[in-house]
């Protein structure tokens, strides 16, 4: 369990965006793993199994609450529709200049948590779990075009939050 607990917890907390609920999900994952210990104990795919279960349980958890708020949430983000566009911010090579790795990771982690759920979840499934767009659409029960739009807008929003973090950092340093 010790080998996988950080990975399981990270998967849940990044998807759900709430530490307490992520801990509950992680607990449920390991209880399920215990029930399947005969098959998983020596399996080389145990890590993948745990990650998949953590992802699915987290998505189920999110959707359980989302159903309750779907009407209200659907009222928002009508401006998300639209084609691709270029994003204005510092070039990648100069973006994090003068910031050490630990601090940069902290920024990215915090920026990720600031994203709205409908952008954060598909973004994580795409970039962390390597799921293709159609698989994400199926998992989240939304259209393929919405997945693509949400991921694109999520990247842009993440970049903007990072730019803001950078300017705040500079102001603080000066």
């Amino acid at each position: 369990m010790r080998n996988y607990q950080d990975m399981v917890y990270s998967t849940a907390v990044r998807l759900i965006g709430n530490e307490t609920q992520a801990e509950d999900i992680a607990q449920e994952v390991f209880i399920k793993a215990h029930a399947h210990f005969d098959n998983l104990g020596t399996s080389p795919t145990a890590g993948g199994w745990l990650k998949t279960v953590a992802t699915n349980l987290s998505i189920n958890h999110i959707q359980r609450y989302k159903k309750r708020w779907s009407f209200f949430s659907d009222l928002v983000h009508r401006d998300d529709e639209g084609g691709e566009r270029e994003v204005e911010f510092a070039a990648p090579d100069t973006f994090f200049s003068g910031v050490d790795t630990a601090e940069r990771r902290e920024w990215v982690e915090r920026a990720l948590q600031q994203l709205p759920e409908h952008q954060r979840v598909p973004l994580i499934l795409y970039h962390f779990e390597d799921l293709p767009y159609d698989e994400i659409a199926k998992k989240l029960r939304i259209s393929l075009s919405k997945v693509k739009t949400d991921i694109l807008r999520g990247r842009e929003a993440l970049a903007k939050i990072l730019v803001r973090s950078g300017s705040t950092h500079e102001a603080f340093e000066n």
Partner: protein, 154 residues
């Protein structure tokens, strides 16, 4: 400021996200999991779901359930072929008399309501219904606005 194409942005975000290390799980997680597993182990099998029952008990249960179901179906068949249908219907009617009374009371209430609604002037009736619908829409809209401004932004 430089401009990034969507492809450059995807590459950049991918690098940043994949560069993140795993987040450290709370120290309490392991003890919580072990405690939950121990607690579940203490629950007797007959309080758990079917899949947790011992195989022998599951087999025995299947045999018993099949026997009981067969006996019930057989009993009904013998009862219907042996006894007269009218006596069974009378017996059932006595048992279900309360339901029949309840049905008649419900019919009377529906009839009364229909008569009362029929006496209300149509202007008052439709005006009242419109006012209720407007109140409902207003409070629903207020709820949605409150959610958007107070809950989502926090």
């Amino acid at each position: 400021m430089n401009k990034m194409t969507p492809e450059e942005l995807e590459k950049f975000i991918h690098q940043q996200l994949r560069g993140l290390p795993s987040r450290r799980a709370p120290r309490t997680l392991e003890s919580r999991v072990l405690a939950a597993i121990e607690q579940r182990a203490l629950i007797p099998w007959y309080h758990q779901s079917w899949s947790h029952w011992p195989a022998a008990v599951r087999s025995l249960f299947l045999v018993l359930a099949t026997t009981v179901t067969s006996a019930v179906i057989g009993g009904f068949y013998v009862g219907f072929t042996g006894a007269s249908t009218s006596s069974i219907v009378v017996a059932a009617g006595q048992k279900l008399g309360l339901l029949a009374k309840a049905y008649h009371v419900a019919l009377w209430i529906v009839d009364l309501c229909t008569q009362m609604v029929g006496r209300i002037p149509s202007l008052w009736l439709y005006g009242g219904l419109t006012a209720i619908a407007l109140c409902y829409a207003t409070f629903f809209g207020l709820g949605a606005a409150a959610y958007r401004t107070l809950y989502r932004n926090n």
